[in-house]
């Protein structure tokens, strides 16, 4: 179900791991859904005085697609100006990987969102002007995160009930 490129990035992920002296970090996802990504960027000026992502790394908890898209997005953003990096979408990431299964598209959204959030944090911290589109995306993500938090809390509450005899979740799926 995965393309060779996905498998290749999954097996040999680029830019993976924590960064010590990062300029900003974007944290997206939620463990209820299984996908969590932390993306670190280090921003510096290039000879022309433009701000570029001079270093990037990430930590991801997720499936094959989530790990491959983390690797791919980090490759795509490395060395780019902030403006160029903001323009990276999940569709770009997926197509660079020669496509993802439809059910896995949300994993690629995660990677693009994490980049978005890292840049947003950087611009905010440095009191730069924030492009409207970036701001809107951040607000949408913040809202989604909040609703995921709610879901997580509900899940945890259910789990606590489950410590008695009740169980959590609907019946949907099992391997054979």
């Amino acid at each position: 179900m995965y393309t060779e490129k996905v498998i290749e990035h999954f097996r040999h992920p680029h830019n993976m791991g924590k960064m010590k002296d990062y300029s900003a970090v974007g944290k997206v996802g939620n463990i209820v859904c299984g996908d969590v990504m932390w993306l670190y960027i280090k921003v510096d000026k290039d000879p022309k005085g433009r701000e570029i992502i001079c270093d990037i790394s990430w930590e991801t908890f997720g499936c094959t697609a989530a790990i491959a898209t983390s690797s791919m997005v980090s490759e795509m953003a490395k060395g780019k100006t902030l403006k160029e990096a903001i323009a990276i979408t999940n569709k770009n990431v997926a197509s660079e990987l020669d496509g993802l299964p439809p059910v896995k598209m949300h994993c690629s959204a995660l990677a693009a969102d994490a980049l978005n959030e890292a840049i947003y944090e950087y611009l905010t911290q440095n009191q730069h002007e924030i492009p409207d589109a970036l701001k809107r995306r951040h607000e949408r993500l913040a809202k989604e995160m909040a609703s995921l938090e709610e879901r997580y809390k509900a899940f945890l509450a259910k789990e606590q009930v489950a410590n008695g005899t009740k169980t959590a979740g609907d019946v949907k799926h099992a391997p054979d």
């Binding site: 993976m16 790990i67 169980t167 799926h173 099992a174």
Partner: protein
């Protein structure tokens, strides 16, 4: 491919050479339709009835109590829907939260048709509570369907006790014995209906049977030529049935030796995995099938784990949300209250008759490294 270490035997198993050999003549030589009058037909009929007698003898029932089907999904549907339709006066069914979908979904479908279904909870090891079962039985309860051994976590249910309760209360008892058949001693004395599938025991895919105790009438799901005593129409799958019988006989003849080996592997697997930090065993420590081990690894996701192992030629499976089309974790893991974060990191390892000590060693050599690799990528650090 040929060198892969296959540890997904509760999904399916390789066909045993002896089974294939027994089946082979029934494709191109003895290909007759068992309903035909001529010699070829009689030969096929003979093979089918021999197989039926073999299976009946294993279970200690009479041959007429065995109905061949296309596998366990059909056998479960026939048991549940067939019973419900044949006994319109009783409209309540009891099952459990950790049944295979081939039991849960027919029950849910009956619910949508106006039947009532009680789905029993299980404890943290996956066992039902017999008191809860007794309380759930009502005057209009027709059937209790509880699996013998679970396909994900291996937990065994107290089948004999369940059967005794059902007998006493005059309720029919069906058990999905797909994983338990050939792996543990099963006394059929108090079981009224029992489902089996050949491909889980080194037989071919697409064939199985439902044991139906005498006196229990079923409305057939498939109507046609009136095969299988009118309970399941359709020209008999002669090679499949021969393969099913051969695989049953092999499994039961070799049961002691095979399961002793499987239990050794299981102990070794559990010990070695416990030595990796941030792990847990899902299921029951002792009341469990010998061939299934289900564990969880903190901080990593099951689909990536399965894919990493696959990279090393090791084939396993997971109940993680990311691996499922609905993106929800396995209903079995949720039912036994595995914390959601641990359900994400679940791994099922299941051995077969062909599994060797060398394969288990090779797997255990790779596993900690792969877990380490994925944990290095993860933002959730174990022990932090």
């Amino acid at each position: 491919m040929d060198k892969c270490i296959y540890l997904d035997n509760s999904a399916t198993t390789p066909v045993a050479a002896e089974v294939l050999e027994a089946m082979t003549p029934y494709f191109c030589e003895a290909y007759g339709n068992a309903s035909s009058l001529h010699a070829s037909g009689r030969e096929a009929r003979q093979a089918i009835e021999k197989g039926r007698a073999e299976i009946a003898a294993i279970l200690g029932v009479s041959p007429s109590e065995i109905v061949f089907t296309s596998g366990a999904t059909e056998a479960n549907n026939l048991a549940i829907i067939g019973m419900a339709f044949a006994h319109e006066e009783k409209r309540h069914i009891i099952t459990s939260k950790i049944e295979h979908h081939a039991v849960l979904y027919p029950c849910q479908w009956l619910e949508s048709q106006g039947y009532e279904v009680t789905t029993l909870d299980v404890d943290k090891t996956g066992r039902i509570d017999l008191e809860q079962l007794k309380d759930a039985i009502r005057k209009d309860t027709l059937l209790v369907s509880i699996m013998a051994g679970n396909n994900e976590i291996g937990t065994l249910q107290p089948v004999e006790e369940i059967g005794a309760i059902c007998r006493e209360r005059g309720v029919a008892f069906h058990t999905d014995a797909v994983q338990a058949y050939g792996k543990v001693q099963l006394s059929t004395d108090s079981i009224d209906l029992l489902s089996v599938s050949a491909h889980k025991l080194h037989g071919p895919k697409g064939v199985g049977f439902l044991m139906v105790r005498k006196g229990f009438s079923l409305t057939p799901l498939l109507h046609g030529g009136g095969h299988e005593g009118g309970r399941r129409s359709g020209t008999e799958n002669t090679p499949g049935i021969v393969g099913l019988a051969a695989s049953s006989s092999l499994a039961f003849n070799k049961m002691e030796e095979t399961t002793a080996r499987m239990r050794r592997f299981k102990r070794r697997l559990i010990e070695a995995i416990h030595a990796i930090p941030g792990t847990r065993l899902n299921g029951h420590e002792t009341e469990s099938l010998p061939h299934i081990v289900n564990v969880s690894f903190q901080g990593i996701e099951g689909e990536s784990l399965v894919m990493k192992l696959d990279e090393h030629g090791i084939e396993t499976s997971t109940g993680s949300a990311c691996s499922s089309p609905t993106l929800e974790p396995s209903h079995v893991l949720l039912a036994i209250s595995v914390p959601i974060s641990m359900a994400h990191g679940s791994l099922r390892i299941s051995t077969g008759r062909q599994t060797t000590r060398e394969e288990i060693d090779a797997f255990l050599d790779v596993l900690p490294r792969v877990v380490e690799e994925l944990r290095a990528i993860s933002p959730f650090k174990v022990g932090e």
